[in-house]
């Protein structure tokens, strides 16, 4: 063996986030793990991290559910467009009846598919769009306020929960440097 060869020492890594650490570090500069803390301090930190990960998964699920509601809304709008197309097929203004529902379907579909990347923007837009459509339907015929009211409340609930979770999720991602 050649004596001049030196074996590269493996770099020390944080036990929590595996970020590279320097010998002098008392805390990890990426996650705050107490590198030179007592065993108890380190255990408390790691269990708190576990709790954070559970919260992260809960927020993710809620955002996913809100995103799915946007897909359902796209489906409803598409169904509406198909029904109005076939019922008004002979009307010269068939496009005027079909196109708004078709545009809505496309909008909800686009919002749903981008809701994983930009959850806050898509869920806020989806909720406001849905509420405006409901208001327009009620103005057109006030009886519409009662039709499918439970489904409407569930969809609005999912979307509002989705907005809250999107805020938490974005904060979490920012704090833990998680990229989309």
């Amino acid at each position: 063996m050649d004596d001049s060869l030196t074996i590269a020492q493996p770099k020390e890594r944080c036990a929590s986030c595996f970020n590279e650490i320097v010998n002098d570090d008392v805390y990890c500069t990426n996650c705050g793990y107490p590198i030179k803390g007592t065993e108890h301090e380190q255990r408390v930190f790691l269990s708190q991290n576990e709790v954070n990960n559970i919260d992260y998964n809960v927020y993710n699920d809620k955002v996913k559910r809100a995103g799915n509601s946007l897909y359902y809304l796209a489906g409803f709008a598409l169904l509406g467009a198909i029904i109005s197309f076939f019922t008004k097929q002979d009307d010269p203004n068939v496009l005027a009846y079909t196109l708004p529902s078709l545009i809505l379907a496309v909008l909800f579909l686009v919002l749903g598919s981008y809701s994983k990347k930009k959850p806050l923007a898509c869920i806020v837009s989806g909720l406001v769009l849905y509420l405006i459509v409901q208001i327009l339907l009620i103005i057109d015929n006030p009886v519409n306020i009662a039709s499918g009211i439970i489904v409407k409340i569930i969809i609005i609930g999912y979307l509002i929960n989705g907005i809250k979770s999107a805020l938490e999720l974005e904060k979490f991602k920012k704090e833990h440097n998680i990229k989309d």
């Binding site: 570090d25 805390y27 500069t29 010269p92 545009i103 806050l120 837009s125 405006i132 805020l167």
Partner: protein, 255 residues
């Protein structure tokens, strides 16, 4: 502690113990303190969103009144509605006056830039006018006009220009790119904030078919407002766009 090779420009002091840290450090390596203490809390963000929702709901209510209520088609009631919109917008803009007043300043005014924005607005209005005309004929089998009553009536022409070019440019910008966008920038990143304000602005016009031009229009003004850090370029852009649309409307009035 930091190694000596790191340049001072790449370091920062810990918010708690003032130890020197690498600029990217999220926690202090000496005391473990988190370095981003000035971040807005989620509860504050949620409250900001709720406040923005109240503004939007009230604005939407006024828009629905003006569009769907016969009484508000009369000029006197229409003026009352316009006044309500102005009061609403100015009140919400003034809630955070100490911060928002900076948007009314015009730092680095450039006549060339202003002319360029106005030129883009006029070209955009030209394109939108002809594509909307084509869509109206294709979809509704008819042409639509803003105010048929303005033919030969100078008073009506003045009102048309005032209510479609001047007041929307001033107060929609103050409300949507001023108050709303400024609030959203505290809740989310720049791209999402601009996108949300643009989408909400577009759908409040209550015309799904017009979204094809309203969304890009609002996105453009939103990015101009963030880039230039003033509302004025957006106000002039919006004014030129609406004025060009008005002039087309007046030129095409049925004889």
């Amino acid at each position: 502690m930091l190694s000596e090779e790191i340049a001072p420009s790449e370091t920062k002091a810990c918010v708690q113990c003032t130890a020197l840290l690498n600029i990217d450090s999220k926690f202090c390596n000496s005391c473990g303190a988190k370095q981003s203490l000035s971040e807005v809390k989620v509860t504050d963000q949620w409250n900001l969103l709720k406040q923005a929702a109240i503004f939007y709901a009230l604005y939407l209510f006024l828009c629905c009144l003006s569009q769907f209520t016969d009484a508000f088609q009369e000029i006197s009631w229409y003026l009352v509605l316009e006044l309500a919109c102005v009061i609403l917008t100015v009140s919400f803009f003034a809630i955070n006056w100490s911060e928002n007043k900076a948007l009314l300043k015009w730092p680095g005014f450039s006549l060339q830039k202003l002319s360029a924005y106005c030129g883009i607005a006029m070209a955009g209005a030209f394109l939108v006018h002809y594509s909307v005309d084509w869509l109206n004929v294709t979809i509704y089998s008819q042409e639509k006009h803003l105010f048929n009553a303005s033919r030969g009536n100078y008073y009506a022409i003045f009102l048309l220009v005032f209510f479609t070019a001047v007041t929307p440019a001033l107060f929609e910008e103050l409300g949507f790119r001023g108050y709303l966008l400024q609030s959203l920038l505290k809740v989310s990143d720049t791209h999402q904030a601009v996108y949300i304000s643009a989408f909400l602005f577009a759908i409040i016009h209550l015309s799904f078919i017009s979204l094809f031009w309203l969304i890009p229009f609002a996105l453009f003004i939103g990015y101009v407002r963030v880039r230039e850090n003033t509302l004025w370029y957006g106000i002039f852009f919006h004014f030129c766009f609406n004025l060009t649309a008005c002039l087309f409307e007046l030129l095409q009035q049925p004889k």
